[in-house]
Symmetry: C2
Subunit: 178 residues, 2 copies
């Protein structure tokens, strides 16, 4: 039984149900966001044809996801970010700036951004991206809250508002929606 469960190549006769990871959504052309994917989400992720994953937690990547990305030649960008925790722990601006450089390079697309729940760290990165896209704060925070649900963090919204670093992305490879 465990042999069968571990075999990613097993082709079921019917087209399988696709199970997106928690809080999955498309951010812009070539960019997706979600919570932490698990084995059940692999057929769904495979369909996205990902070139890269931007993983935003300090923990090592799970064995099952590591096997998945090796098998499908997906590049992992790993930023070891600890989430905002009132009142003492701040997300370092530089990590988000560096993550945006990877994110804004079409050679890495399609790319999936994820943390654990797809709410806070991912929300800060996407919010900072929206600032670069010149979106109004009303909408940036509306989008942040849509994913954070009842777990909205004021520090995250403050992070987005104060984020103002120059992002040295490569203009030659920037997405055309920026």
């Amino acid at each position: 039984m465990s042999d069968i469960e571990d075999n990613d190549d097993l082709e079921p006769k019917e087209e399988p149900l696709l199970i997106p990871p928690l809080n999955f959504s498309m951010v812009s052309r070539g960019v997706y966001r979600s919570g932490y994917p698990n084995k059940k989400n692999h057929p769904f992720l495979k369909k996205l044809g990902l070139k890269s994953i931007l993983y935003l937690c300090p923990e090592e990547y799970s064995e099952s996801n590591t096997n998945f990305i090796r098998k499908h030649n997906i590049n992992l960008f790993h930023y070891r970010i600890v989430g905002n925790k009132e009142p003492f722990v701040d997300i370092p601006d530089e990590y988000i700036r560096d993550a945006l450089v990877d994110l804004l390079d079409v050679r890495n697309h399609p790319i999936l951004i994820h943390c654990n729940k797809g709410k806070h760290r991912t929300g800060c990165l996407v919010g900072s991206l929206r600032k670069l896209q010149k979106w109004s704060y009303t909408y940036i925070f509306d989008e942040y809250r849509r994913f954070a649900g009842s777990k909205v963090r004021v520090l995250d919204q403050q992070f987005i508002e104060l984020f103002n670093l120059e992002v040295p992305y490569n203009k030659k490879y920037k997405p055309d929606w920026l």
Copy 2:
């Protein structure tokens, strides 16, 4: 003053703030969803380079939006759908089936789906699309609720669950994510 406000061609010296419509999001490559756009959202919509708009309410399209789509050669698909209202008014399946035929034709992309709030009628159409994509109900309803917020309608979720019509979309022009 009103002359200036009405002039879409006026180019401000600084890059303007972009204001997405209420509940705006990307659904899949080439497909967006939102609430009813107004004049403030036009510079944002212009940037999306839309080819079509799928409008899901019985009312005539606003003058300001009609001018906008004429100016930018955007095609309007107008399905005059009355929203689900417990217990007597149902969205007709056939309207959603026909709207999906327009939606699943890449010649109409990029396309924006919208109703008034971007919650119920748009949620039913996107939920039915997710069924065609073979997404699990858990995730289909999670996405529906993310946009409906506190205004979740059981009848909408029931509509999505029962929607099972064959959708006669043109296979030659279907998006590659289907």
